[in-house]
Symmetry: C2
Subunit: 346 residues, 2 copies
């Protein structure tokens, strides 16, 4: 059998997030770096607002690390808009080589995986990853403009208005940052779900596939991790993933959660299926998961970006929604130090 | 100054192409692996036809090399359709980890760069890259459905109906395949061109930027290469690139050409500005450039994928068209062997 997981050695040396009003009002609201209650970020269109969030988030990440755009060897970025214009326009202001990605909502993990791989192999000393989504631009593009006031189905997810930015550098012994240590690239899987208001169900089988292959390949189990967190399966999809993994003999238990379940208060904020969008997993990772890893609250987590690879046109043409999930293993600075010391003494 | 180019060591061990009728009727017609004069590839929609071309091209590449989909560690793929559904549906049939990319028409070079990088650093022994475009799906999405019979402007380019697939493996001494030896990631550049019927003008400054930075960084000059070929600047854009590079002190001369100028006969086939689309550079590389490199007709070439990072909506919102160009240096087996021997003896 081919070896499928990738060994990485990349510290996430800066992370930043910019979000809209609903996210600022949610349980993680105080943790985000930038918040704009109007969701507009000073721009005239929702699309420009999304681009502006990317620009702002990357700018904050650069200044947190005290580096400039010209120091970044390559910037991996993507979003949900047609032709990924959120990224291409949002990051135009920076003098940085640009690698455009499209993995739907899995792009947060995909971009961080490539940014980690490039520094692990010393291709560049410093790389960046930026992803975003915007509720209003996504609704207009994938369903109907928000102004139409369409009724939402119970399983419909709420696209997060937010952008997350990360900087990666080769991990050094005794560093203070969380470290990406392994990755597994997902396979596109289409189980025939055709309901664009139930993306969680479409993506859960892909997340189960990636997790199962990772556990089998590495010989590890859910119990080896402090936390297993998917990107945006939401309440519906994460329940399905729980069932699938139990059936596979890898019950995830209480250590499992989903960024789409963390970012909003389900009932008070009336979000139906929970949060979604690559801005969902990117901002939760930047604001909530990485700080807790650095604080030593968790030792080792699995972070899965989950994406639904469909277009509104493909659904009209009767196609199913193909899901994909890319996995990153991220460890705390303390865990990384102990692991390095064990490897040196053994 | 940051080092910008990337050292690679990846043999392209298989290449395959599938094209439509107009491409089959062009000057390179006999060189493509698969041709369907109807442009439908047995499918009911143009979008499905595009996906089918990707599936067929990748299948041919696998069988040329005598390997299976499960042997491929990662597949890098993209296309021009919204949410890149050409790739995600086209490659669903394969049991291969999937990395979705979006670089507009530069995706052919972008995917081959990443597939080369992954094998150079022994992340996987075998990787793949697949890209496509389809005239009818692209016209419908970016301009108007072909059935409307819209008038084409003189600078409008003809999106190539075609898919190209490549397999990469770490280059070995004395191999029989062309070798990717260097790459340079492009920057997104927006010079304010807003005419969707003149993509060549929008992309040419990005190609000039990448070329100039590569020459400056490596200390090389146009004269060091047997051929410099851009992806799809077409007749208009390639003339602009020639002017820009002359002004920068790097005249490209007669060694410069463009895949969009090679794939059709300009007057007889009535293609106005020439060919475009990531299927353009991918199929010309697979069918024409790589075989000539392997035959020793050229020693060392620069292949630039060029892309226009805009969406129809962004144009309606008054944005410019951001261009990008990713560069690959590809050498003949003989050149690679001599270079390796020189490095061993020096």
């Amino acid at each position: 059998m081919r070896r499928e997981w990738i060994t990485l050695n990349a510290a996430i040396t800066a992370a930043a997030s910019a979000v809209g009003g609903k996210e600022a009002d949610g349980p993680l609201g105080d943790l985000f770096d930038l918040r704009d209650g109007s969701d507009r970020f000073g721009k005239d269109t929702w699309e420009d607002a999304e681009s502006e969030m990317q620009r702002l988030a990357f700018n904050v990440a650069l200044s947190k690390r005290g580096v400039r755009d010209v120091d970044v060897g390559a910037l991996f970025a993507g979003d949900l808009l047609n032709q990924c214009v959120g990224s291409s326009y949002g990051l135009l202001a920076f003098d940085t080589p640009f690698v455009g990605l499209y993995g739907a909502c899995s792009t947060a993990a995909e971009s961080l995986m490539l940014a980690s791989l490039f520094v692990t192999h010393d291709i560049f000393p410093l790389c960046g990853a930026v992803t975003s989504s915007h509720y209003c631009s996504a609704e207009r593009q994938f369903r109907t403009p928000v102004e139409y006031g369409a009724q939402r189905s119970p399983t419909a997810q709420w696209t997060v208005t937010g952008a997350g930015a990360f900087l990666t550098e080769r991990a050094v012994r005794g560093g203070a940052h969380a470290v990406v240590t392994r990755a597994q690239i997902g396979r596109a899987i289409d189980m025939g779900v055709k309901d664009a208001s139930n993306m969680g169900a479409a993506m859960a089988p892909a997340a189960a596939d990636t997790l199962k292959r990772f556990f089998e390949g590495c010989g590890s189990r859910p119990e080896d991790y402090s936390l297993i967190v998917t990107g945006d399966l939401g309440f519906e999809g994460s329940a399905i993933l729980g069932d699938l993994m139990r059936a596979e003999g890898y019950p995830l238990g209480a250590r499992y959660t989903d960024c789409g379940c963390l970012i909003y208060e389900r009932v008070r904020q009336d979000v139906h299926g929970g949060g979604s969008g690559c801005g969902c997993s990117a901002t939760v990772l930047a604001s909530h998961l990485l700080p807790k890893l650095c604080a030593g609250e968790w030792d080792r987590i699995l972070f899965l970006g989950t994406g639904a690879m469909m277009s509104p046109d493909s659904l009209k043409q009767g196609k199913g929604i193909a899901g994909i999930a890319h996995l990153l293993e991220i460890v705390s600075p303390r865990y990384f130090k102990e692991k390095e010391e064990n490897e040196w003494t053994s």
